[in-house]
């Protein structure tokens, strides 16, 4: 059973003072799947992400990675085990070049990160692998550009390349297409598809057309609890999901029935 699932959450609960943000959430992420976590604003998607990667400490519950209980581990240790996350707001190192951004990730496994006496030139042997990763996300020509000068979509691509540099077994992507125009969205969809080869991906995503194109399985969260789980067709046909997304009677700012948004 545990071989099948890379990542499991069991009865995960997060309480803030007088408020239950995540309520008894169970997740089973199957190996090789692209698994989406969707739900209306405030459903607790990002909180679940933060719990899984221990950026927040769960009040109760267990997290298993490849069957091993990783609940007591810290964020950095979890990343080293092969579970690497991205952030909703593009997480790059703004005053480093694109190449240096990747190198910092590669360096994480080099064992020289405390060597304050060594020359910086010792990092140059990571350049080649870094260039390959930049190539994979189409950023070759920006290798020597300071990241802060890159366009938004390229920053996200760089972030993805940096995450891939960690050779993660499971990628946790927090709204990878947030704030992007259609063209960039299509590019990211392709990137994620490429990155997911031989890996497992768990992603929070608002854009349901992205979800329908990419994801094998979908978990819908509402008010901190799992509403339903299934493939895209099953989930989008579920009347309760429609209700949550529509709101009752109000026109709803997201206001989309999954099927409609999924239309090309």
């Amino acid at each position: 059973m545990s071989d099948q699932y890379v990542l499991e959450a069991r009865s995960l609960v997060k309480e803030f003072k007088g408020f239950v943000a995540v309520d008894d959430v169970n997740l089973n992420i199957q190996k090789g799947h692209i698994h989406a976590l969707i739900g209306p604003n405030g459903a607790g998607k990002t909180t679940v992400f933060n719990l899984l990667t221990k950026f927040l400490i769960p009040t109760r519950g267990k997290i298993l990675f490849k069957g091993e209980d990783i609940t007591p581990l810290k964020s950095a240790a979890i990343a080293r085990k092969g579970m690497v996350r991205s952030f909703q707001i593009s997480a790059v190192f703004p005053h480093m070049t694109a190449l240096e951004n990747i190198r910092v990730a590669l360096q994480s496994f080099e064992g020289n990160s405390f060597s304050f006496w060594k020359s910086g030139a010792s990092l140059n042997r990571l350049n080649e692998r870094s260039m390959e990763l930049l190539e994979a996300v189409g950023l070759t020509e920006f290798a020597n550009t300071t990241t802060v000068e890159l366009a938004y979509g390229r920053k996200r691509a760089l972030e993805l390349a940096t995450t891939l540099a960690m050779e993660p077994e499971i990628l946790l992507l927090d709204e990878p297409t947030q704030g992007m125009g259609t063209e960039d969205v299509d590019r990211v969809v392709e990137l994620v598809r490429k990155a997911a080869q031989g890996r497992t991906v768990l992603m929070v995503e608002h854009n349901l057309s992205v979800v329908s194109k990419l994801c094998d399985r979908i978990t819908v969260l509402a008010q901190g609890a799992v509403l339903t789980e299934g493939d895209y067709d099953a989930v989008s046909a579920n009347p309760r999901v429609r209700e949550v997304y529509m709101g009752t009677g109000s026109s709803g700012e997201r206001g989309a029935v999954p099927e409609e948004e999924a239309a090309p």
Binding site: F93, P94, F116, K118, S119, N124, E128, M131
Partner: protein
């Protein structure tokens, strides 16, 4: 041209750029070295040594503030601890040569730095500054009360002694070249640290801490190391200062001193190598020049005004602004 060719082209150009930068650094260091070697023949050596000690103090502080992003408001504690320890040992144990006293002072400050770091490193931003300030105040009151420090009067008559038991440091020129050698060694060390693999991690932590965590870095450990190195160098500055002036005083432990080193670093340019050196030079000069004249009582308001001006108008400090200008007009 194939994709691999383009890649290796870009890699080569990056390596070339690194080389040019290294050469520029080397030339700048060379010019600085010549100026500092000749300086005591033009200017009063004791004054120059004062500048060098404060410059080292600021360089040490900047490693933590400018390159790691941690604002310590308690660095006076390390300056004073280095100074008092060295002063006490050299005054009371005549068998000790000067460099042993200085090494001992530096070590004690390093240990104190480790203690500070362990207690404060998990706090963020303003809370980190407050914890370091509170700890430094504890150290201040310890030095006020401790019997060996001379309290408000300070510790006078610290013997300069002989370096390695050979070179007479009573001679101002000898003393100057010793201080200069130590300063340059530390400056080059910080330069190396900043560009080392470790320095790159510090940079990453400063620019986006949670991202560094998500890349598997245990950031607290990196910060603790930076804090300890910074405290060690600040202690070394204090140790040398007490030998140069033959005096360790309560001023060095006062929170005012922790503020002054922030001022020096900001004016000169935080996160640059030369910035704190220039900032320390300016502040020491302003204090000295104005202290002589009719504006004597206005030193603090004037420094305060410069501080406000820097923060409002030249946020990257003098060296930072010059670097920006050069990059804009020559790159």
């Amino acid at each position: 041209m194939s994709q691999t060719d383009i890649q290796s082209d870009i890699q080569a150009s990056i390596l070339r750029q690194q080389k040019t930068e290294n050469r520029r650094k080397l030339i700048l260091n060379g010019v600085l070295l010549v100026l500092l070697l000749l300086a005591p023949f033009v200017l009063y050596p004791v004054f120059l040594m004062k500048i060098l000690c404060f410059a080292l103090f600021a360089v040490a502080f900047n490693l933590l503030f400018g390159f790691t992003g941690l604002l310590s408001f308690g660095h006076a504690a390390f300056l004073a601890t280095g100074g008092y320890t060295t002063g006490y040992l050299l005054s009371n144990f005549s068998g000790l040569t000067t460099e042993m006293g200085i090494i001992a002072g530096t070590l004690v400050a390093t240990l104190l730095g480790l203690g500070f770091a362990l207690l404060s490193i998990r706090r963020q931003g303003i809370y980190f500054a407050m914890v370091t300030l509170a700890l430094a105040q504890l150290v201040f009151f310890f030095f006020v009360q401790a019997p060996f420090t001379g309290g408000e009067d300070g510790m006078h008559g610290v013997p300069r002694g002989e370096l390695f038991g050979l070179i007479n440091l009573e001679d101002n020129l000898n003393m100057y070249y010793f201080v200069l050698a130590v300063f340059l060694g530390c400056y080059l060390l910080v330069q190396r640290i900043v560009s080392s693999p470790y320095g790159h991690v510090l940079k990453a932590i400063k620019q986006n801490e949670s991202r560094a965590v998500s890349l598997g870095y245990k950031v607290d450990r990196y910060k603790i190391l930076a804090f300890v190195i910074s405290a060690a160098l600040a202690g070394l500055a204090g140790s040398m200062k007490s030998v140069v002036f033959q005096l360790a005083s309560l001023n060095d432990a006062h929170w005012h001193m922790s503020g002054e080193v922030i001022l020096m670093t900001l004016i000169g340019g935080m996160g640059t190598l030369l910035g704190p050196v220039l900032g320390a030079t300016l502040v020491v000069n302003i204090e000295y020049q104005l202290g002589q004249g009719p504006l004597r009582d206005w030193v603090d308001p004037i420094l305060g005004g410069i501080f406000v001006l820097t923060v409002l108008a030249f946020r990257s400090g003098i060296v930072g602004e010059v670097q920006k200008f050069v990059r804009k007009n020559m790159g």
